[in-house]
Amino acid sequence: MNKLNSADKLKKISEIEKNKNQKFIKLVTLCSGTGCTASGCQAVLVALKKELKKEKLSQKVKVRTTGCHGFCEQGPLMVIEPGNIFYCHIRPQDVPEIVLQTLVKGKTIDRLFYTDPATGNKITSERNIPFYKAQDRVLLSQNKLVDPTDINDYIAIGGYSALIKVLSSIKPEAVIEEIRKSGLRGRGGAGFPTGKKWEYCLRATGSPKYVICNADEGDPGAYMDRSVLEGNPHAVIEGMLIGAYAIGAERGYIYVRNEYPLAVQHSKIAVKQARELGLLGKNILGTKFAFDIKIARGGGAFICGESSALMASLEGKVGEPRPKDIHTTEKGFMGYPTNLNNVETWANVPSIINKGASWFAKKGTEHSKGTKIFALTGKVRNTGLVEVPMGISLREIIFGIGGGPSDGKKIKAVQTGGPSGGCLPEKMFDLPVDFEALTEAGSMMGSGSMVVMDEATCMVDMAKYFLKFLIDESCGKCVPCRVGLSRMQEIINDITEGRGTQDKLNLLKETSETVTLASLCALGKTAPNPVLSTIKYFYSEYEAHIKEKRCPAGVCRELIHYSILKDKCTGCMACLKGCPHTAIVKEGRICKILDDKCHKCGICKEVCKFSAVKLS
């Protein structure tokens, strides 16, 4: 491939691509993100290619495999153009019919359409799906249009034009000013103004300077970064190029979590292709600007999402955070000025340069501008990735886009911000999604995970869950986090196992305050949030556990009891066979649970078809 030494050459590639696509009469876009791959889209792809070859349509129908579209619950899914036809829950055996009926004859297949759970109607085209319609898919919509393993797709939709604009006509300081004016704040969780960070790094002395993309998305329930990096890696690369130019950096890293093999693979391919075209390396687009990116894989440690721990990991060391008395923008990776930003932050940069700071600043609230991608999961009907303008209410997201409860139970709470965030009760769902509003309420925006919980979720158990997660992932260096969190866990275990007292609850609160104040890094400082927010908003559940030794949601194992109802049991022994701890025996015609062997896992209740297992 010839290296591009001018902007014209880039435009030429875009034209060639468009011409190439003219000869196709149909375009089939198949989502191949990690989610749909888990649902089986690869088998659908194989079947599709086979069928097209059989019908001699391979030259007439273009198949594009893309990254995550965000509507994961409906996968495997495809969109057919022209016509914007949307099919979901596709199995390989549906493929011949799709090819014959829809691609050849132009007829649609009813059973493959999406059914709107609110109305029961079938929705025929993608743009009419309420889940998508209610969003503002500035970034996510790009995923559908590009094959992440083909740089030409990205160029065809205007990719790298922001880079050209910057290199040819904007000075570094002016780039930073534009980013500052847009109001873009870090999308990784802390929400630090991006323009300000770039400015600090520009002013720092020392060379070489580095830019880093933090793709160590460790918050459970968050996969926004995965989808952007898997599905549109070039947007991130272009963002980093612009940032590097503005700050004066020559080298960059994309640090990807070990648990995201597809994101690692696609980033590597993207960097390689960009390098081949001369968009990375020396004399980019014929200018004096030189910049290159290396992909680094994490080793499996949540703490490496913290910027100083990430840099330690890049240096080949253990991921232990260091005190931030001196910022990483001054002394970061290897002691050099380093600018670290999140995947989504970088991916927003090209659009801001192309469409202008005021375009970005028009959306959102006064202090939280632009759109944000959230991973909406849990007990809600429509789970997946949603991109919305800041300022939209939680209620609109959960009930509007999310479609309300999935299990028919009442929605009780939403957890935002991952383990550093907090649980907000339903009565606060009218809060706008905004950095300050969420923090004031006792939670935080975080990286974007939003887990919805219903009546069957025990909030004390959720606090226990997050504590366990943080204790697992704590580096263990400082006393408040290492010792404080484990003491908090002791108390929460007491509460969930029937040994709670009011004194212990007070001690839990006091310990939480110390951990928040005195911990070395943000993991420790925010660790008590789930505990403190659940105590604040769900105090009645704590009271029930402590005073009545009862778990209202029926979750905490020591406080619940499984038994078999004699009058409902038919003796089918499904429970007996399903029990992994051999705690069920047959007595006469019916089954009986042995209390001393029962682990309270609940599997028996799951498999019983006669509702004969009672949970009290």
């Binding site: 989610g35 918050d219 968050a222 070990n258 060391k317 789970t383 919980m453 682990h599 896992c601 599997i603």
Partner: protein, 165 residues
Amino acid sequence: MNKTMQQGKTRLNRLLKNRQGTSCELIEVLQDVQEEYNYLPEEVLRVVSDRLTVPLIEVFRVANFYKAFTLKPRGRHLLTVCLGTACHVRGAPKFLDEVLGQLKVVPGETTEDGEFTVETVNCLGACALGPVVVLDGKYYDHMTTQKLRVLIQQTRSKPSQSKKK
């Protein structure tokens, strides 16, 4: 130098071939070693410490810190259960019970017959499809305890495919 040590050094040489030999590369090198040997053998780590000029205690620290590394050999099948928030809310703890009951191991351990190593991960990023389980690199979505039981049984009865030694 006996034959196995010689073979070991050749394999390691191959892994270290295109490397600059700087301490920054430690984690990448260990990732390659983990993939090649299915764990991090002590002897190999001593050589790595020497070649990359990283103090031995630092190599040992890194090997113990990251979840991707194991100092003991893994079983033939790696079963990872996702315990992320979304999967937890959808009942992931039940799977650990199923695993404990079926395989009699706790996460982090390998079964006695060396067949299964069970690990937990705190989020795989496939949250809309929870509960999720990964077996030998393949993702299984919307798991139920019944499906997991069947999956374990099926894997057990598969004929053994020799992994590269």
